[in-house]
């Protein structure tokens, strides 16, 4: 939820020391400056609003009578493996001019692939959509 996908940044946060439990009693002011607190709040707000936006999309797509998740999944999974990888997604996104930037594709794959196996299954797509 908090760790960035970029490994360098991720390692920076992980390596940082944390406050001793005795001193920390649900008071962020004691350990964070206002700016950091604001950024943290902003991040949480964005994460929440993202879920709401996706829910709106879900509703919109489900209202469409001919929208079948399986068909969309099969379009991405062009080889019919039952799963798609970053490369399959990249091909699909290139084809439909959504994005051809690798970082975008990694972000999207990460959004679908919860268990970080690199393979997005139909069930995972179904959960998101």
């Amino acid at each position: 939820m908090i760790l960035p996908l970029d490994k360098e940044y991720s390692e920076i946060i992980k390596s940082r020391n944390y406050a001793k439990s005795e001193l920390f009693v649900r008071n962020l002011d004691s350990i964070m400056c206002n700016e950091t607190k604001f950024k943290f709040a902003q991040l949480l707000q964005l994460l929440i609003s993202q879920e709401m936006k996706i829910e709106i999309w879900r509703e919109k797509l489900n209202k469409m009578r001919n929208f079948i998740i399986k068909n969309m999944f099969e379009k991405i999974d062009s080889y019919g493996n039952g799963f798609f990888t970053e490369y399959d997604l990249s091909d699909y996104l290139n084809k439909c001019n959504v994005s051809n930037i690798k970082s975008d594709i990694v972000l999207l794959t990460n959004r679908f692939n919860r268990d970080n196996t690199g393979k997005v299954t139909y069930t995972q797509v179904h959960i998101i959509i």
Binding site: A41, Q50, F67
Partner: protein, 280 residues
């Protein structure tokens, strides 16, 4: 609308204007029937039939065939009334002989006579309707033996005229239904395209939102006073290793972030990998 298509107010007005022919502000059954009926579809849409569906070309061909079939009677009339005409008689003889030699070529010969009939009669179909079955009866009386034999042979070749008509009608119906079927598949394809576009738009949106979030995460990672455990413990109400929705709500309230119950539920769903309704 239930079919997932959302027309604007002006679209609905435009559709209504087209359907409501008598402009009484209501769509009567007749008007409704006209919009549904296949023949009027091109008039209503203002598109050429071929533009609406390429299958219509084959439909038109079949219509021509049925017109040609109606000219069979003209051919008979021709045989009965014009056989004294020397040049035409010659053609008839030729056609007879060609039919005897090769019955399958008869249809072709018939077409030649039809073209002749088109020249002589302004509207052979009307002519046929006027004269009706009486002509056929007259024909059977007037015709000579050779022509009767021809008729019999012709009937053998095509067993029942009515059945032929009904066969063509059924072909026409089939073609009609295939047209309707293909038009619905055409619409369906368009719908699927729309849905795929919507899906792509959703993916685009997810990418954009995740980009923004990733930037903020990196920004936060650079802040020296930020660490993972402290931010987690901020939400913790006890020493448990996971967060309940109530913990999350309390934390969000402390941070003065506006939220709804629904939003918190979606948030937990997103990050709850174990499906136990908690965030570890």
């Amino acid at each position: 609308m239930k079919n997932g298509f959302y027309p604007s107010e002006s679209d609905i007005n435009a559709i209504f204007r087209r359907i409501d022919i008598d402009k009484d502000g209501r769509i009567s059954f007749d008007e409704f029937k006209k919009i549904i009926t296949f023949q009027d579809y091109s008039k209503i849409t203002g598109l050429k039939d071929e533009e609406l569906n390429p299958n219509l070309q084959s439909y038109n061909n079949i219509s021509k065939l049925s017109v040609m079939d109606s000219h069979n009677k003209d051919f008979k009339e021709y045989l009965s009334s014009n056989h004294q005409n020397t040049t035409n008689d010659l053609e008839v003889k030729n056609s007879h002989s060609s039919f005897r030699n090769n019955p399958s070529s008869f249809k072709k010969e018939r077409v030649d006579f039809h073209s002749f009939n088109f020249k002589t009669n302004d509207n052979p179909i009307k002519e046929e309707n006027k004269q009706g079955n009486k002509q056929e009866d007259n024909y059977s009386h007037k015709s000579n033996n050779r022509e009767c034999t021809l008729e019999r042979e012709f009937n053998k070749a095509s067993p029942n005229k009515n059945s032929q008509h009904s066969h063509q009608n059924s072909r026409l119906k089939n073609n009609n239904s295939s047209f309707m079927g293909s038009s619905s598949s055409f619409l369906k394809k368009n719908y699927i395209l729309l849905e795929e576009e919507a899906f792509q738009e959703m993916l685009r949106d997810i990418i954009d939102m995740n980009k923004e979030i990733e930037l903020l995460k990196c920004d936060l990672a650079v802040c020296n006073d930020f660490n993972l455990l402290d931010s987690f413990r901020f939400f913790q109400s006890s020493n448990r290793d996971y967060l309940f929705s109530t913990d999350l709500k309390n934390g969000l309230s402390l941070l003065e972030i506006p939220f709804s119950e629904e939003e918190v539920e979606f948030f937990i769903n997103r990050f709850d990998c174990s499906k136990s309704r908690v965030i570890s």
